[in-house]
């Protein structure tokens, strides 16, 4: 739910609550005021009556009564003032309507009378109705105004928040840039931006350190590996060693070789990620593909593979030449290696796409998994499982789209430049 909606709902609920409370209070106080007003009027009439009586000692004329009824009845005993509510039948409306009545006694011409003055009281229903109506309209108006103002304020005040959000969205850790915010004029958002900037700087630093560390670690591994490999080579030269020992030594040697290749590949991945192959040129791609196919032609011939190539001429791609070499070599050697004897390799190059297909085991590889490092799909005792990961990494850094598909018994890798 959006903040502005939530705020509006809260306002709505609170307003309803307070308006209800307010309406009740308002009703009570208006009622009270009206009641008191009416009571005052009754007492005023009484005073007027008694005044006249004391002056003239006779019953005042009915017309002196401003609104209401007056009734006299002779009584024997004095009574105290009685103020009460009563109902009387209103002939015109044929309804029982509420009245207020003040009864008092006084002596006129030596006779005790009970005087009753009755005035119409405000119909509670009418009162309620009019209060509710006015308040209701007020409430609605308030809600509308609040709603509009809320939306407008939100837009203005939260603008910088959305700017920050957008910046965060666009931020890419691997782009090695820092994030910048302009002053917002709102303390909280300035604080937010400051903290975000600090956090990103920290993350950048950690990431950078981690990358450096893993790259340095790989570098450090090269020399010990070189020592092991070369010493084993010297040992293997010794013909006098028993065959069993030589075999074991050779196995160690093979394994060392695997480690070496693994390390080199990891370094390659790290460097590509670090954008250390920054130099790009316009490479004549069809020429490069031809070169690579020539380079591996003996392998292709050895496995009796049928090479089909369809290369569009003069296709130029903007890419680092070393990475282009690695990209093509990995894909081509994969196509040769995962093939069957007498199978087929097809290479199709168009202006902005290359497709390398090979026949092979009728097993569809899981597209999402084959580009992962060391995935089960890729590793075997002779493959370190990084070839395709490297290809993917290269594609990612140039934003090329790479895709794997299997159809018509052909495994196809395609890259869109």
């Amino acid at each position: 739910m959006k903040l502005v909606t939530k705020t509006s709902l809260y306002y709505l609920v609170i307003l309803i609550l307070f308006f209800s409370l307010g309406s009740i209070l308002f009703y009570i106080s208006v009622n009270k005021i009206l009641n008191e007003e009416l009571n005052e009027q009754l007492y005023t009439e009484k005073d007027k009556f008694l005044n006249y009586v004391s002056k003239n000692d006779e019953i005042p004329p009915l017309s002196s009564l401003t609104d209401g009824y007056l009734s006299l009845s002779k009584i024997n005993k004095k009574i105290d003032d009685v103020l009460k509510d009563t109902l009387m039948l209103e002939k015109a409306e044929d309804e029982l309507l509420p009245y207020k009545q003040l009864a008092f006694s006084t002596e006129i011409k030596k006779q005790l009378y009970e005087i009753r003055i009755t005035k119409p009281s405000v119909e509670k229903d009418d009162l309620l109705e009019s209060i509710l109506n006015s308040l209701g309209i007020l409430f609605l108006l308030l809600i509308i105004v609040l709603f509009i103002v809320n939306r407008w304020l939100t837009k203005i005040l939260w603008k910088s928040f959305y700017v920050t959000l957008n910046n965060l969205n666009k931020y890419d850790l691997r782009a090695h840039t820092s994030i910048t915010f302009s002053a917002t004029g709102i303390y909280e958002f300035d604080q937010l931006n400051l903290e975000v900037k600090r956090m990103i700087e920290k993350i950048n630093l950690h990431y950078s350190n981690l990358k450096d560390f893993s790259e340095n670690a790989s570098h450090e591994i090269q020399t010990p590996l070189a020592i092991i490999q070369n010493k084993l080579e010297l040992i293997l030269e010794n013909d006098n060693l028993p065959a069993i020992e030589l075999k074991k030594i050779h196995e160690i040697y093979e394994t060392t070789n695997r480690l070496t290749k693994l390390n080199k590949s990891l370094l390659m991945l790290s460097k590509i990620d670090n954008q250390q192959f920054g130099d790009v040129e316009l490479i004549l791609f069809d020429e490069l593909v031809e070169q690579k196919l020539l380079f591996f032609e003996d392998m292709i011939g050895f496995r009796k593979l049928n090479l089909e190539k369809n290369l569009v001429r003069d296709s130029y791609i903007k890419i680092n030449i070393y990475l282009a070499d690695v990209l093509l070599s990995n894909l081509i050697t994969n196509a040769i290696k995962h093939n069957i004897e007498g199978g087929k390799i097809a290479v199709i190059l168009t202006k902005n796409k290359i497709e390398i297909s090979n026949s092979g085991l009728p097993k569809t590889l899981i597209s999402s998994k084959i580009f992962e490092r060391f995935s089960k799909e890729n590793t075997s005792h002779d493959s370190i499982g990084l070839g395709l990961a490297i290809v993917k990494q290269i594609c990612t850094s140039y934003q090329f789209k790479i895709n794997y598909s299997y159809s018509k018994n052909l495994h196809t890798f395609s890259i869109e430049f």
Binding site: Q222, A226, Q276
Partner: protein, 225 residues
């Protein structure tokens, strides 16, 4: 042939020296930049192997010094970093070759010989081994003066063997020599066997002795009989 190895990692240096001495090179070691500078100014080596990751200075500066001395000394950079920038820079400064660690000893050997050939014998660069003659500039091979036609890979293979006579060439080092890092292990070994078979056949057809010996389990040797 005199070689200077500039390498601070002594275990590695010892291993390389042992190997090169077997090859008949006279070797000297410099363990740091300071020593290397001194060595180079005192002797003219046929080839200098420089590890540019030295503790007390960048080996690339050594290249400058060697170039200033205007010698025919071959320069090979060996580096654990395998940095493309270093490679380009080094070659620009005048180094003859760049080899990343870890490398196969046989590979180092073949590179050294290649560099020395290019630098020293400004006229005749032909390699002769008994009945085999190789002209590296034309990439031509003759047996008993008769040209034999070899594929590029077969030629590279023969040259590799002849640079490492009597040395064990493991399948791994042959594979890396022919196809670089792009090859994984298991597939290449059948290829290699077939290449060797073809090479052997072409040589023997022209009356050449069969110098190629299979060392079971490890690799091959080009044996001087």
């Amino acid at each position: 042939m005199k070689i200077l190895l500039v390498e601070d990692e002594s275990l590695l240096a010892d291993t390389i020296i042992t190997f090169l001495q077997k090859e008949g090179f006279v070797c000297e070691i410099a363990k740091n930049y300071f020593e290397a500078e001194a060595n180079v100014s005192l002797f003219e080596y046929d080839c200098v192997l420089i590890d540019i990751g030295l503790p007390d200075g960048n080996g690339l500066h050594l290249i400058n010094q060697l170039k200033k001395q205007n010698t025919k000394t071959g320069i090979i950079i060996i580096s654990a970093k395998n940095s493309l920038e270093d490679k380009i820079l080094g070659l620009d400064l005048g180094a003859d070759d760049y080899l990343a660690k870890p490398f196969h000893l046989a590979e180092l050997n073949s590179r050294i010989k290649s560099v020395i050939r290019r630098r020293n014998f400004s006229g005749n660069t032909e390699i002769e081994f008994n009945e085999i003659t190789i002209n590296p500039e034309q990439q031509e091979v003759k047996v008993f003066n008769q040209t034999i036609v070899l594929t590029k890979k077969e030629y590279d293979l023969l040259l590799f063997f002849i640079s490492n006579i009597n040395r064990l060439l493991t399948k791994e080092s042959i594979a890396e020599h022919l196809w670089g890092d792009h090859i994984s292990q298991a597939d290449s070994f059948d290829f290699i066997y077939s290449h060797i078979k073809n090479l052997r056949k072409k040589l023997v057809e022209k009356g050449c002795h069969d110098y190629l010996k299979t060392i079971y389990g490890s690799g091959y040797k080009f044996m001087k009989l």
